[in-house]
Amino acid sequence: MTDLAMTFAQAEKGSWHIWQLAGRLDRATAAQVQAEGETLLQQTDRLAIDLSELAYISSAGIRVLLLLAKQAEDASQPFCLCSPQGIVREVLEISRMDMFLSICPSVDALEEGA
């Protein structure tokens, strides 16, 4: 089911697989993002989610990110959120998401190695 509120883009950078989310991550798109993300976690070694094009995130979206992070942690897989912008960044800051998962300022800052 295509959802106009959210579009995806895939990219590679080094050993990291970059998954770009663009649009709104809320109740409507959460399920789709969760399913896609779980698949990508299984398919890749290192998954980074590029939030530079994400305009909005709701608590349901946060929950999805937390779930993906937990799955990655259980699988000892590197997982990172990259370059949140605007209110998305604010929300992540207020909820102190940095305490639960890695947040990188940009894709370029992704570290290679373990």
Binding site: R27, S59, R63, L66, I94, S95, R96, F100
Partner: protein, 751 residues
């Protein structure tokens, strides 16, 4: 009677619109159309045939009459000509015979006179005998001149000798017994040996028609004066006279020839015939042919004719027909006199005739026959008339057939119409019966009887439709059942939700009545869930006499899962708070609650929380903000947000540490705790209400507001901003106004 009623009912029913009636009308119309067109066609064919027959009949009869007329004319003309020629030659021949006989007589007479030695004198009765000479008896007549004088001896001798002619005369006369004839030899001396024939009276009747005539004859008759004598004498050959009036009062024609003795011309032999006989002959012929016959002499005068009156009648006076006023007749007469033989059309006294003429050579006469063209054409007319009559009869028959057929057709129309009406009614009913069955069945189903199965044995589209309908009904039944179950389930769920909502509502404390803590704090709180049950909560309770705990929290997501989590979170926080019972230990309280929440949280639900403790006597406000929106405080028009949250959201990870913060409220300061349902309330353009607008709303409040008023203002502003947009998140607010302790212990400035 019943049938008529049924008909009337049917007609009434036909007014209704239905497929049955449509089919009925259609079939009826088709049938009528076919019948009418066939009828029209046959009538047209009949009419055309009749007209053709009429025309043909006319032309045939015309053709027949024309050709018959033509051939009739031709035949008639041929026949006329031949007949005229026959008659002319017959008459001619008759006269020729006369001529031959006369020649024999003359020769005999000549021989007698030139060879007296062969003959003995003969004695003949005299015409002046007292007893009349009768027909067929030879006699001698002395002319008056001879009688007056003394009979010279040689003449007497000659008379005696001449008497031998009777041996030729009498046998010859026998061949004339049918005609009024005089056979004679007339001497130049004035005596005449004669035998008269009166037809039918040979030996009986006197030759004298009357005594007067006899007297006259005896007294006056001198043969030498007679025209035939003079003619033969003059011509010195066989001659035919013109028609002259005979002694017996009849018109005569004579054939005369001179005879000779030793000295030369001795006399004239003559056979004279009454023209009456020829006339009778002519009359017979005329009667036979139903026409007019006449003989024209060489002067153009009609010698004798079958007509008693008119132009073609024989008149005593000499009348040359060639000068006649009737031009065609005059012309024909000319040809006749010229001795021609032909057939011509003439008009006499307005009537048209065919005139056939042929010459009679001996007399130089012409024989003419007139037959009316109508008579000639009569057979043709007859034939034409017959043909016409036959054709007309035929036409009449055709007309009869035509009318009879048309009549029969019209008559046939009525029963046919009835039949058509009846049969189309039957057919319509039959065709529409399954449709009506179907309609009835469907009606029953729609009335609610979903168990009704359409039982149709048709194998056509109707049957198929019935099968589909049954399948649909089954599906419908199943769906209805499922719907009932789902509805029941939803009802139950709704009921349960409503119960949950009321439980939830019951869990959230009501506002603190202002009177209860008059002078210290005035507090109001509200929670409007976006769904039936919400994920936000607020809480307030007294830790102890002086410390009021206020809490506001936002569980991730909305709905039943969030509300369950909300209940747990709320309970845990309150438990911990009431257990530890110290504002200083607020961080521990929150940490303990967080640990408990994170312990069994597989779904990774979380909650943002702001929890604060207000020390009523001093106005000191100790708080922990775990990822929640910073509350706003202010007085009058002076409002500002508390610093941003520093602590993480609860329930995600255990073993986290939290930080407490503090500030002191002055008297009259109001504080508003809210969830993001307030600041993120969107209008139809997706524009959020926002922190700035919230602050402005609060700053715009009239002085002297209480907590309830504050909440109402904000709520109104949010509603006004959202407009028609749906409430997308729970809207929760807790507001209080700190008035300070009952005894005024003096307020301090904020930290």
């Amino acid at each position: 009677m019943e049938k008529i009623k049924a008909w009337i009912r049917q007609i009434k029913a036909a007014r209704q619109k239905s497929i049955r009636n449509q089919v009925l009308v259609l079939v009826l119309a088709c049938g009528l159309l076919i019948f009418l067109s066939v009828s029209a066609l046959s009538l047209y064919a009949l009419e055309s045939t009749r007209t053709a027959l009429e025309n043909h009949g006319r032309s045939v009869s015309r053709l027949v009459s024309d050709s018959v007329g033509e051939s009739a004319e031709e035949n008639a003309k041929d026949w006329l000509r031949q007949f005229a020629e026959a008659q002319a030659s017959y008459i001619d021949r008759e006269l020729e015979i006369n001529g031959e006989d006369v020649t024999i007589l003359a020769q005999t007479m000549t021989r007698i006179l030139t060879h007296p030695e062969y003959y003995r004198p003969r004695q003949l009765p005299s015409s002046d005998n007292p007893e009349d000479i009768v027909s067929g008896i030879s006699y001698i007549h002395y002319s008056p001149a001879l009688k007056r004088q003394e009979m010279p001896a040689p003449i007497a001798q000659e008379i005696g000798l001449a008497g031998n002619i009777v041996d030729a005369l009498e046998p010859l006369s026998l061949t004339y017994k049918n005609y009024r004839t005089s056979l004679l030899a007339a001497s130049k001396h004035g005596y005449m040996i004669c035998v008269d024939i009166i037809p039918g009276a040979v030996g009986k009747k006197s030759i004298f028609p009357s005594a007067a005539k006899k007297a006259d004859f005896l007294a006056n008759y001198d043969p030498r004066e007679r025209p035939w004598y003079k003619l033969a004498q003059r011509e010195d050959a066989l001659s035919f006279t013109e028609v002259y009036l005979g002694e017996d009062g009849y018109l005569e024609v004579s054939c005369a020839m001179p005879y000779y003795d030793a000295d030369g011309f001795a006399g004239v032999v003559s056979i004279g015939g009454s023209v009456e006989d020829i006339h009778k002959q002519v009359m017979d012929v005329a009667a036979g042919i139903k026409g007019i016959c006449f003989a024209l002499d060489d002067k153009g005068n009609i010698a004798f004719s079958s007509e008693q009156e008119g132009i073609l009648a024989a008149v005593p006076e000499y009348l040359d027909i060639r000068q006649s006023g009737e031009k065609t007749l005059a012309e024909a007469a000319g040809h006749m006199v010229a001795g021609e033989s032909d057939v011509m059309r003439v008009t006499v006294e307005g009537k048209e005739y065919y005139l056939a003429y042929a010459p009679m050579n001996k007399l130089h006469w012409s024989f003419g026959m007139l037959i009316g063209t109508d008579v000639v054409m009569a057979p043709a007319q007859q034939a034409s008339g017959d043909v016409q009559a036959k054709m007309e009869g035929f036409e009449e028959d055709v007309q009869q057939i035509f009318l009879a057929t048309a009549g029969k057709e019209a008559l046939l129309l009525i029963p046919l119409l009835l039949l058509a009406f009846y049969s189309s009614g039957v057919m319509a009913a039959r065709v529409t019966k399954p449709i009506r069955q179907l309609a009835a069945g469907v009606k029953e189903i729609t009335a609610g009887n979903l168990n009704k199965k359409l039982d149709m044995n048709e194998s056509n589209e109707i049957g198929h439709l019935a099968i589909c309908f049954n399948a649909m009904t089954d599906e419908l039944q199943r769906h209805m059942k499922e719907l009932e179950q789902a509805t029941a389930k939803a009802e139950r769920a709704k009921t349960e939700l409503e119960v949950a909502a009321s439980i939830q509502a019951g869990m959230l404390p009501e506002a603190i009545k202002a009177e209860r803590y008059k002078g210290q704090v005035d507090l109001t709180a509200m929670m409007h869930p976006a769904k039936v049950v919400g994920g936000d909560f607020y809480d307030f309770y007294f830790m102890d006499e002086d410390n009021l705990v206020v809490t506001i929290a936002d569980v991730s997501d909305k709905g039943v899962p969030a509300s369950l989590f909300m209940v747990i979170a709320k309970t845990l926080l309150k438990d911990q708070a009431l257990m530890k019972k110290s504002a200083a230990r607020l961080a521990d309280i929150v940490a303990a609650a967080n640990d408990a929440l994170a312990a069994s949280n597989r779904e990774l639900m979380f909650v943002t929380t702001f929890i604060g403790v207000l020390h009523l006597p001093t106005g000191r406000f100790t708080y922990v903000n775990a990822g929640h929106n910073a509350p706003i405080r202010g007085r009058g028009q002076d409002w500002e947000y508390l610093p941003m949250a520093k602590d993480p959201i609860l329930g995600v990870r255990s073993g986290l540490a939290f930080t407490t913060q503090q500030l002191t409220l002055t008297r009259g300061t109001a504080v508003l705790l809210y969830t993001d349902g307030v600041t993120e309330a969107m209008d139809e353009q997706h524009e959020q209400f926002g922190e700035a607008r919230l602050r402005q709303t609060l700053a715009d409040m009239e002085p002297g507001f209480d907590a309830a008023g504050m909440l109402n203002s904000v709520q109104a502003a949010v509603k006004g901003h959202a407009g028609a947009a749906e409430q997308s998140d729970d809207i929760t607010m807790l507001g209080f106004v700190y008035h300070g302790p009952a005894e005024d212990k003096g307020g301090r400035q904020d930290d």
